[in-house]
């Protein structure tokens, strides 16, 4: 984090953020963060930061660091009910409309403000970083139907940043330009803004529209001389569907940081063939241990079998061990327990991920509980079941994940009783409590539930 102050003081003219045609320099970022920090000092508790990829999202994160108030990133796509639940769990009472876009409706006991309400600055806040100050709070799907709040401290974040940038190839690419793909409320995005701000690189915030059309997204990469892309394996697969995603068209793409789910071997082969000089960095880590705890640059010899390794144990950010096949993490990146729950008995975090360690490399083998990984998101199927059963038209529900031949989750299917005539209404009703990636694609009557799935549902 001390890097940041150095960059702000010595290179204020350097561009820090780009979003569409908007450019914000490190100097401007610093001034705006200081201005907002002074205002934040007049309040207390976590700050909800509402917006998508606007530069003021990053301004708010830094202002929170300066004013020692944790931030909770809330993407525009986050359902209101989920935001309300999240705010209640962490006792937040204030919300910053970073993008200037108003909430669909007011939230009780939360006052919202936008940039126009922030008074001019009278003084600067000193940089003083205590490792146990909570930097941000992110949310993960919970078994009880309520999301779980994960507080990440500055010490956690610092350890993550040091580990990430200890890979020279990643640090040097990031110091030019970092392309952000993930939503800022998804913890993969921590890798991109951390990498850019700690190395003095430019962070390019891309909009959903740019990503869906791909052409403008590729244009961003093509424009940069050297760049670091952090994305999910699913997004990389989408990019690879286009033949212009190759080193000839995008010579500046120097490093691709992948986390959130295992990368399929075929995609790795294809991308390594298209980009022979680019580092394909395959990483692993739960939100509870700050974005990623281990990783490795993939080499041809790693592609001989599926699944691909997700990291090197010896150079990990934390101590990684296996207990009855479960991956256990212990070290300075690991969080101190969920907010509003009993503190954990041990500092080591049992991930629920099954793993194998072979020749010093870690392999992920799926989950030991009913949670699943879907397009990079960790989802508790029970939360979806409870959301369905809370609807007036449904009495009983079961939710299963359909998988492909490699065991990768392809889609979510819900089995309902009684079975409603209109499933479009269900989708709409579910979008109130659940984010889009948790809404099942398929709906069936409960009696069609496959017997094997039924056994699993009953057996827990």
């Amino acid at each position: 984090m001390h890097h940041l102050e150095r960059i702000f003081c010595h290179s204020p003219q350097k561009p820090a953020l780009r979003w569409g045609s908007t450019v914000m320099t490190y100097g401007q970022l610093y001034e705006e963060a200081q201005q907002l920090a002074e205002f934040l000092k007049t309040g207390s508790g976590p700050l909800l930061v509402y917006g998508h990829k606007h530069p003021r999202m990053i301004v708010a994160f830094l202002a929170c660091l300066l004013s020692k108030r944790p931030w909770m990133p809330c993407d525009l796509s986050m359902p209101m009910a989920r935001m309300e639940a999240a705010a209640a769990i962490c006792g937040a009472n204030q919300l910053f409309l970073a993008e200037g876009i108003a909430l669909p409706r007011e939230i009780e006991e939360i006052s919202s403000f936008s940039w126009e309400d922030v008074p001019p600055k009278t003084q600067n806040q000193p940089f003083s970083f205590q490792p146990d100050t909570v930097a941000y709070i992110m949310f993960t799907s919970g078994t009880t139907g309520q999301p779980k709040a994960i507080p990440i401290t500055l010490g956690n974040l610092e350890n993550f940043a040091q580990w990430l940038l200890s890979y020279d190839q990643l640090a040097s690419a990031a110091s030019d330009c970092v392309i952000n793909q993930a939503s800022l409320s998804f913890d993969l995005s921590v890798a991109d803004w951390c990498a850019a701000l700690c190395t003095g690189g430019v962070l390019r915030l891309t909009t959903n529209e740019e990503q869906q059309k791909l052409a403008p997204f590729f244009a961003h990469i093509a424009e940069a001389e050297g760049c670091f892309l952090a994305c999910t394996p699913t997004f990389l697969r989408l990019c690879a569907c286009d033949s212009s995603f190759c080193s000839r068209c995008l010579p500046g793409l120097r490093a691709i940081f992948l986390c959130g789910e295992p990368l399929p071997r075929t995609t790795a082969q294809l991308v390594m063939k298209r980009f022979p000089q680019t580092v394909l960095f395959h990483a692993y880590g739960p939100t509870e241990a700050t974005c990623a705890v281990c990783g490795l640059p993939l080499l041809p010899q790693h592609l001989e079998q599926e699944p691909l390794p997700v990291g090197q144990i010896s150079s990990a950010a934390v101590n990684i061990t296996l207990r009855d096949g479960e991956i256990i993490l212990d070290g300075p990146s690991v969080f101190g327990g969920y907010l509003g729950q009993e503190p954990p008995a041990s500092a080591a975090y049992a991930t629920g991920d099954l793993g194998r360690i072979e020749n010093g490399l870690l392999y992920c083998l799926g989950r030991r509980d009913k949670q699943i990984k879907y397009m990079g998101y960790r989802i508790d199927l029970n939360e979806i079941r409870l959301a369905l059963e809370a609807l007036p038209q449904v009495q009983q529900a079961a939710v299963i994940a359909q998988r492909d031949s490699h065991g990768v989750v392809r889609r979510l299917a819900a089995y309902l009783s009684p079975f409603p005539a209109e499933t479009d209404d269900l989708r709409r009703a579910l979008s109130e409590p659940l984010p889009a990636y948790m809404i099942p694609q398929l709906f069936f009557p409960l009696e069609q539930l496959p017997v094997s799935a039924n056994l699993k549902t009953q057996g827990g």
């Binding site: 791909l214 989408l238 569907c241 212009s244 397009m375 392809r410 889009a436 694609q441 398929l442």
Partner: protein, 87 residues
Amino acid sequence: MSAYCKENQKNELEERIKQLLVQVCGTEQVLEEGINLLDSGLLDSLAFIELLTELEMEGISIQPTQVDRRCFCTVEGILQLVQSQLS
């Protein structure tokens, strides 16, 4: 005769695409009259990637950067897109 052949080819192609959509979306619901494949959530990112990959394997190369995503709302839209790639 040739018009008949063309019609026949089109029907075959249409059948093949319908089959592929059922396969990648995991349900015959995609064939229902008036369904919007994108809005209904049936053709999600993973299904979209699989559809493009399957078409590619059959020699039909659709570049995501070159086409409007809205073409993928309907079976008819996808069919037209595939035909334009073939001609």
